[in-house]
């Protein structure tokens, strides 16, 4: 069976600084894969390389067995690769509903139509509302995105990605910036994702990672440090050292600050 997403020997540097080094990563269909690592390990860079925001200096990215290394970001999205952003990238001045209808419109090629009124296709609106309902956003459908609390905006991020009907979904810290009292809402949604979709999640909260992921890749200084099941990673002394070191720094930093 061809993997949903395969990354082979990916390399990228910013100037003299290598930020992605010989990274290999495979997501089978329906995978639940977590990407963890200390700050600055190159996790978001890797997502940007996979989605085509950045071009790799060497290596390949395969989506369902097709080499997509040279294709544009939009082309990859049309082939079923969707992502969410660590920092919201939403259409803030539009309603939640329009954020979704536009996504569906671009997915189906509707947006090539310059003449038909956008609201004239009930099926698009129905589908958008279905997505919003499944994320409990239906009551906010007609509110402007910028008027929503941050936690609900994070849900719109996920709703947009799901409206793309992706086969591979990359979640870049979906609960980042959300107070812990609300983050469970987002994590519930992540846990309930369609089992057909291959999911790669970047997440700092180890409880979430160990609960959600069936596979974990640890990234350190741009390279794959290790890779395995949650049990293997949890038992790995070196990973603990890297993470405890990192956590130790954070605590120390906080007490100084």
């Amino acid at each position: 069976m061809t993997a949903a997403l395969q990354v082979e020997k990916l390399n990228r540097s910013f100037g003299a600084l290598p930020v992605t080094r010989d990274v290999d990563l495979t997501l089978e269909r329906g995978a639940r894969h977590a990407l963890i690592g200390p700050n600055g390990a190159g996790k978001t860079t890797l997502v940007n390389l996979i989605t085509g925001v950045l071009k790799p200096h060497s290596g390949r990215v395969l989506l369902n067995g097709d080499d997509i290394t040279g294709t544009s970001q939009a082309e990859r999205a049309r082939r079923g690769l969707a992502r969410t952003f660590q920092i919201n990238q939403l259409f803030r001045g539009l309603t939640v509903l329009e954020n979704l209808t536009m996504t569906i419109g671009e997915r189906d090629g509707e947006c090539n139509n310059l003449w038909r009124p956008a609201g004239a296709k009930p099926s698009v609106i129905e589908e958008a509302l279905d997505h919003l309902e499944s994320l409990r956003l239906a009551d906010d459908a007609l509110r402007l995105v910028r008027e929503l609390p941050y936690g609900r905006q994070r849900l719109v991020e996920i709703a947009i990605a799901l409206a793309q009907k992706p086969r591979v979904l990359l979640l870049d810290e979906p609960a980042a910036g959300v107070p812990s009292s609300e983050s469970h809402l987002i994590l519930d949604v992540v846990a309930a994702l369609d089992p057909e979709i291959a999911v790669l999640i970047i997440e700092h909260d180890m409880d979430v990672v160990f609960r959600f992921a069936k596979e974990i890749t640890v990234l350190v200084q741009g390279a794959v440090f290790t890779h395995g099941t949650p049990q293997q990673i949890m038992a790995d002394e070196q990973v603990r050292a890297v993470y405890l070191g990192e956590e130790g720094h954070k605590v120390a930093g906080a007490s100084h600050g």
Binding site: T51, V53, S72, Q73, A74, E75, R76, A77, R78, A82, R83, F85, Q89, L90, F91, R92, G93, L94, T95, L97, E98, T101, M102, T103, G105, E106, R107, E110, C111, N112, N113, L114, W115, R116, P117, A118, G119, A120, P122, I125, E126, L129, E133, S134, L135, R136, A138, D139, A141, L142, I160, Q164, H184, L187, D188, V189, A191, A192, R211
Partner: protein, 349 residues
């Protein structure tokens, strides 16, 4: 919380009744948005009324209609797609010169066919320049569009034997409309002609901005990174809009040249690009009718103030622009909407 709890929690629908009514409201909102509202007849009623109220000012009125058309074309790219440009006069100028050179050099003064050619050539210029320039954004794009207009203007100046340079194209002779209607001294013919064409252009632009394609343009303005991520061919979308806007601007230029029977290289001036942008910002961007209000207010003010003080009239327009940008960010139209909302609330309470 166990995963099974989570799944049931996420799947449990909110109360079915509230969901159904929320759905109905949301569907109605999008389905009715493109419907014509009663007040959208107002600009047209005013344009018709002006014909009867100011019968001796129709040549000026024609210039206002042309200004509206020009500003409307800018609204499509600036207001909806968020493309900043200081070179929009390039297309206006190409339209004007298509008409001017056709009559001066090839003795072809038939207004409709020369206008159609003007639309074709300016669209083509929009397509080619847009293809190169729209890879850039913001300040870079502002400078590049400005440079494009200057380059064409200077090329025209270099061959002033053909273009007439800043003295204008000599001997423009525009034929009768449909071979019947003369452009009379008072401008009745062209007021009606340009008015009808503006109605057609307005209808086309209105269809576009309410289409799925128009929604995608708004999306590019709101967040281009997200548009790439959802698979939108952003560059192609922008080039399309730029091409259409260039065609309409060229049409406005052609009508300008025909209505005044006069064209100089001044049509390419930076002034002309800046002026149309000021009109649009005054009126309000991204809402179609800002172009109507902005162009009318600007040109009427310019007309009055320049009679009042031929050397100092721009002060008045500058002041109005400063006040608009500081206190009415959504332009005069936005101010009008706020006022209506305010009084509407007052009447209810």
């Amino acid at each position: 919380m166990a995963v099974s709890d989570i799944e049931t929690a996420a799947a449990a629908p909110a109360s079915a009744a509230s969901t159904a009514s929320a759905r109905a409201r949301a569907t109605a909102f999008l389905a009715k948005r493109h419907h014509l509202r009663w007040w959208e007849a107002l600009p047209w009623l005013l344009i018709i009324a002006a014909y009867f109220i100011f019968p001796d000012r129709l040549t000026f009125g024609t210039q206002v209609l042309i200004g509206i058309m020009f500003a409307l074309s800018l609204d499509l790219i600036l207001g909806y797609a968020g493309i900043v440009t200081l070179g929009h006069a390039l297309f206006f100028g190409i339209g004007a010169y298509t008409v001017a050179l056709l009559t001066a050099r090839w003795n072809w003064g038939e207004p409709i066919s020369s206008m159609l050619l003007a639309i074709l050539l300016s669209s083509l210029a929009g397509l080619v320049s847009g293809w190169f320039l729209l890879r850039y954004r913001n300040l870079t794009l502002l400078m590049l569009t400005l440079a494009a207009a200057i380059l064409v203007q200077e090329a025209g100046n270099y061959r002033s034997d053909i273009t007439g340079g800043y003295d204008g194209v000599p001997g423009m002779e525009i034929w009768k409309l449909f071979g019947v209607f003369e452009n009379d001294l008072y401008g009745h013919t062209y007021y009606i002609y340009v008015g009808v064409l503006l109605l057609i252009v307005w209808y086309i632009v209105r269809r576009i901005v309410y289409s799925p394609y128009g929604a995608a343009l708004t999306g590019i303005r709101e967040n281009v990174r997200r548009m790439h991520a959802i698979g939108s061919p952003v560059h192609w979308r922008l080039v399309t809009a730029y091409t259409i806007a260039a065609g309409i601007a060229g049409m406005a230029g052609a009508l300008f040249a025909q209505s005044t029977a006069y064209t100089t290289l001044g049509v390419f001036d930076f002034d002309n690009s800046a002026k149309v942008m000021v009109m649009l910002i005054l009126g309000g961007t991204g809402r179609l009718y800002g172009a109507f209000i902005g162009a009318t207010v600007y040109l009427v003010l310019e007309d009055h103030l320049s009679k009042l003080s031929p050397t100092f009239w721009q002060f008045g327009i500058g002041l109005l622009l400063v006040l608009t940008v500081l206190f009415a960010r959504r332009g005069l139209l936005g101010l009008l909407e706020d006022a209506l909302k305010y009084f509407g609330r007052g009447a209810k309470s």
